[in-house]
Symmetry: C2
Subunit: 353 residues, 2 copies
DNA sequence: GTGAAAGCGCTAACAA
DNA sequence: TTGTTAGCGCTTTCAC
């Protein structure tokens, strides 16, 4: 038996040449067929597809990327995959990207700039066609790396003056105003706010919108009732306890995200306070979980699907149509109030326990 | 100005040739330096690293993969990224993989075999060095694709007779026995079990271990108190409601996972039942969340870190040392009981509400 | 419409 | 120890 044949049967995966041989065409025709070029006659195209099926051929993306310069890989960097908001976002992003013919590379930074830089570097090595930076802050140093190499990026809540960078603006204001109005209508006047870590743009924007909404509602702002937390369950517990130590207490607490709110629910329970009778609580995000807390959480919904769509769209247009002069570079995602069981009219007992 | 220089300044990324030119060595030496070959003299190595830094050079992984045949990419396919268990697993897996010089490709199938097949195909195209299939069931059809192409895989709770396939056995038994003993010691005799979907190996194993533990504790098994749910919050609620409709009720419910248990907590609350006074509840997984439910959930811990470690180790050894005859192909991850606030001695009122 | 051939950026075998 | 060179599997001119 000739050597060549022996080697073939020995398990080498079929390549484009093998397909070409079986279909009795050139490798160029195989390539064109796979890539849907209109220049291939139906007759040959049919033969090629048949050969592909017969050999169970899978194109090698690395070879493809090497010559075409496009990897069809999109990076998504999130702040903390352990916060349910992000898996839900990743899930949407993956679905949309895969439907669009892309693969995704996921990284979670835990708000560590070093980790973030390493992620960016790895994504650069993998020649991603774009990166969605969903860290909501601390991204500036990394941006340079990415932008400098001409990789399209999309950021949340942060504008960058570079043609390759897009921004998704989050309109928290609508949802937060609705929340404050809801509370005011219920009769609350004393509102606290458990903020996210100030290192995040989102945390700052949310707090500002809270303050603006309070003023718009004609209510007083109590600075000591605005406390920086860290967007985690534990942080929510800690924030609540800090609030409790004060001489006076709010009758309702708005939280910068759902995790914080769920932490508050827990801490209030431990302190013997009933939600919503003794204390009203509002979250932000509307993670899947929010519907199942005790009591079900009233919260401000931020659609992961919308966010994922905007991120993908921004990246796709940048990657596939980079020279379009009137490309959309700003996207807006809105928020809305979802009323559930954690809000009610205020009672006499305020955080007293 | 010569054309070449103009082109360079025009933004082409530095390649290995550029580094070689700056360092005044051959490209082979650059390659050796990057790959830590011991054959490079310190003098040249230093020059090369300096040139790399100066040019801000990043090796092209696709070119590397193409010639070396190794992508340093590991796939991880999970059942449902929306179940907090999985993000925590992915997080661990990513950390370990990155530390080991690998990148990961994440996919979530939502228990859809079609999606799973598509994932596997995409991973094959990307030439992953291995795949961790953490779907706990329904993986057989896909296995063929992967195994047939010689890609190392690691499965949870499913043995495959192929030299490239490893298995992680989960010892639920220890944790479940401890849980039943805990309940028995508290005085419970009437125990229910909300199972996972029977399409998952894990669900079946867990239920079997529950039955075995009940018998071992000398307690009666009530078949009607064993109900198939689906490992989701909603499923937990539904399972509880089904249980409530029965003529008699268990005083304690063990759940196949934490999501189910949290659903039960929610449903019990809605039904006016107090946990743990009126009903004891035990989960399985010990997701981060479990500590923050109301009341904090007593649960059987399954370490994500251990699981991630085992998966990575299995894949790494298969990828890097495939011919080692005495390679470990079975790994064991254990479970243990974590007692928190959702269990207490039984009261007279049983699920009556 | 189709094919031949030139690389994409890198590793590894072989020479020196 | 270092350099030269032949591809890895594919896309994309450029001829025909």
């Amino acid at each position: 038996m000739p050597r060549k044949s022996a080697r073939k049967t020995a398990g080498k995966l079929p390549d484009i040449r093998a397909v070409a041989a079986v279909a009795k065409v050139s490798i160029a025709t195989v390539s064109r067929t796979i890539n849907g070029s209109s220049l291939v006659s139906e007759r040959l195209s049919k033969r090629v597809w048949q050969a592909i099926k017969q050999l169970n051929y899978l194109p090698n993306t690395h070879a493809r990327t090497l010559v075409s310069g496009r990897s069809r890989l999109l990076g998504i960097i999130v702040e903390n995959i352990t916060n349910p908001f992000f898996p839900e976002l990743i899930q949407s992003f993956e679905e949309i990207a895969v439907a669009g013919g892309y693969e995704i590379l996921v990284s979670s930074t835990n708000s560590d700039p070093g980790v973030l830089a390493a992620c960016a570097r790895r994504m650069l090595e993998r020649k991603v066609d774009g990166v969605a930076v969903m860290t909501f802050g601390e991204e500036e140093p990394v941006l340079d790396q990415l932008v400098h190499r001409g990789v399209p990026i999309v950021l949340a809540e942060f504008k960058l003056d570079d043609p390759k960078a897009s921004t998704i603006l989050l309109d928290y204001s609508t949802g937060i105003h609705a929340a404050i109005r809801h509370l005011a209508d219920l009769g609350h006047r004393d509102l606290g706010f458990l903020a996210g870590p100030y290192s995040l743009h989102s945390a700052i924007t949310r707090e500002n919108d809270f303050r603006a909404a309070i003023e718009a509602a004609g209510l007083p702002i109590q600075k000591k009732w605005i406390i920086e937390c860290d967007h985690t369950l534990k942080g929510g517990v800690a924030g609540f306890e800090q609030l409790r130590k004060l001489a006076t207490h709010p009758t309702a607490i708005v939280c910068s995200n759902d995790m914080t709110a769920i932490g508050v629910l827990r801490a209030a329970y431990m302190a013997g306070l009933r939600v919503p009778q003794d204390l009203s609580v509002i979250g932000l995000d509307d993670v899947d979980f929010a519907e199942y807390t005790l009591p079900p959480l009233t919260t401000i919904r931020l659609s992961r699907t919308d966010l994922a769509h905007a991120a993908f769209e921004a990246l796709r247009t940048q990657a596939e149509d980079p020279d379009n002069p009137k490309m959309q570079r700003e996207f807006l995602v809105s928020t809305s109030l979802v009323v559930r069981g954690s809000t009610a009219p205020p009672a006499a007992v305020h955080l007293k326990g």
